[in-house]
Amino acid sequence: MRKRRILLVDDEASITRALAMYLTENGDCEVCVENKGSRALAAARSFKPDLIFLDIVMPDADGGALAAEIQGDPVLKGTPIVFLTALVSRRETGGTTMTIGGYPFLAKPVHPETVLASIGEHARERA
């Protein structure tokens, strides 16, 4: 089985760099990073990810709108998306399943183990 392709979209380069390092070293993942929200759609078309982690608040793009664009794209339609957000606290998400706009989300600061678990749960399986 090939490595799962993960696209990280977040304007915080330090987060994506550290997370990419963790996922590459500790998960069976191939990671692509995009720090410009406005270039995320192009990056996704090019990378064809199995899962996209998408920041909601970015200076040049709105994560919610971007998710809608991705789902409306004929190539990317159906690509799983998990929001990463600092808008809610981890305690609020608790053990319950919570979604924003129908997408699951992880509250920052999120443990990278949780990100890995989320990949296991949501990433598209491809032979």
């Binding site: 390092m21 963790y22 500790n26 606290s89 981890r90 920052k108 600061p109």
Partner: protein, 356 residues
């Protein structure tokens, strides 16, 4: 009567009219008392009474013996009535002054919390991102550090704890800035408390603390935001656990009561409850060391904490107070006469829209 007896002993009949002297003697201490207590209206009334007695004594021709008796009764009794009325009136004024001051303090506190909320909303996003970077970096390094390098692993563990602590503080701050609407539903407060205590069951067991519940049977249902009220009781019981530290007892009692004037004079009670109003009262008492008196006035201030660094954010009681007040209730903290602290949560039964 006592004044009349005193007058007859001090002055023979021939020298002075004893009835008038008795009235005068009764008036003088009352006049001094009214003047000393700062009751101008009563002082003036008594002064007028005293002057009238002097005039009666000096001008007996104008006040016949038939009139003297009723007049004297009037002048002896009237001051006492005046004092009683005046004391009551001034008592009311003072109570209103105290209530006004409590309301002003509450307003200041409310504005302070609003400011914190606005600040928290702005800062939280900026702080959570670097926290996530640090946390992820710690985890990357932790995977690379050999298992034998215990010191480095301990260092990374401490760093992770620090990140967790900062996140808790930010999370607590965010409670001020949003979600001020309540998701109200009819609920049994005893059930809410029971569910809350289940959440701290392990903490109680670990600290060898016995929880004694005395739920009042047949409490009327209240309109509550169940989740938020659970947060309140978890906070309060957790505080009690931290106060006891180990081996002790926490007692939770609920009761249906009518608000009395005395109870209403407590912190923040006056402007929320009317005398005679039906309330459900929750008392959480612990066998800890109690709270030093000097801390009681600032115990609801955000970031005020008596706990060791890292154990409390200093926001638990502030958040609890905010939630209870959003429900139209009040929360008060004090010490028990027998030792330990007591937190009292008072909630209205007959709130607008409450189930009958």
């Amino acid at each position: 009567m006592a004044a009349a007896v005193g007058a007859s002993i001090l002055w023979p009949d021939a020298l002075i009219d004893q009835e008038i002297l008795a009235g005068g003697l009764a008036l003088i201490p009352a006049l001094l008392l009214a003047h000393y207590r700062g009751w101008p209206l009563v002082t003036v009334l008594l002064g007028v009474g005293l002057v009238a007695l002097v005039i009666m004594h000096l001008s007996p021709l104008y006040f016949g013996a038939a009139l003297r008796g009723p007049f004297l009764i009037l002048f002896v009794v009237a001051p006492y009535i005046s004092i009683a009325l005046g004391a009551g009136w001034f008592g009311e004024v003072r109570r209103y002054q105290a209530e006004l001051r409590a309301t002003q303090l509450q307003l200041i506190q409310s504005e302070k919390l609003d400011s914190i909320g606005r600040m928290a909303a702005g800062v939280a996003h900026e702080v959570k991102n670097p926290l996530m970077m640090i946390l992820t970096g710690i985890k990357v390094l932790a995977k690379r550090v050999p298992a034998t390098d215990e010191q480095t692993r301990l260092l990374l563990h401490d760093m992770e704890e620090a990140v967790e602590r900062a996140d808790r503080i930010i999370g607590g701050l965010l409670n001020y800035s949003r979600d001020r609407d309540l998701d109200l539903a009819s609920a049994d407060l005893n059930d809410t408390i029971e569910r809350s205590t289940m959440l701290v069951k392990h903490d109680l067991e670990n600290a060898h603390i016995t929880l004694v519940s005395n739920p009042a049977p047949g409490l009327p249902k209240l309109l509550l935001d169940e989740f938020k009220m659970q947060q309140v009781f978890v906070n309060l019981v957790t505080n009690a656990i931290h106060a006891i530290e180990r081996d002790g007892e926490i007692r939770i009692t609920t009761s249906l009561e009518k608000m009395t004037r005395a109870a209403r004079s407590g912190h923040r009670m006056a402007d929320r409850f009317s005398p005679g109003e039906r309330v459900v009262v929750v008392r959480i008492e612990d066998s800890g060391p109690g709270i030093p008196e000097e801390y009681l006035v600032k115990i609801f201030d955000p970031f005020f904490s008596t706990k060791p660094t890292g154990r409390g954010t200093g926001l638990g009681l502030s958040v609890s107070q905010q939630i209870v007040e959003m429900h139209g209730g009040a929360i008060d903290v004090g010490n028990r006469e027998t030792g330990g602290a007591r937190v009292t949560v008072t909630l209205k039964v007959d709130r607008e829209g409450a189930p009958s």
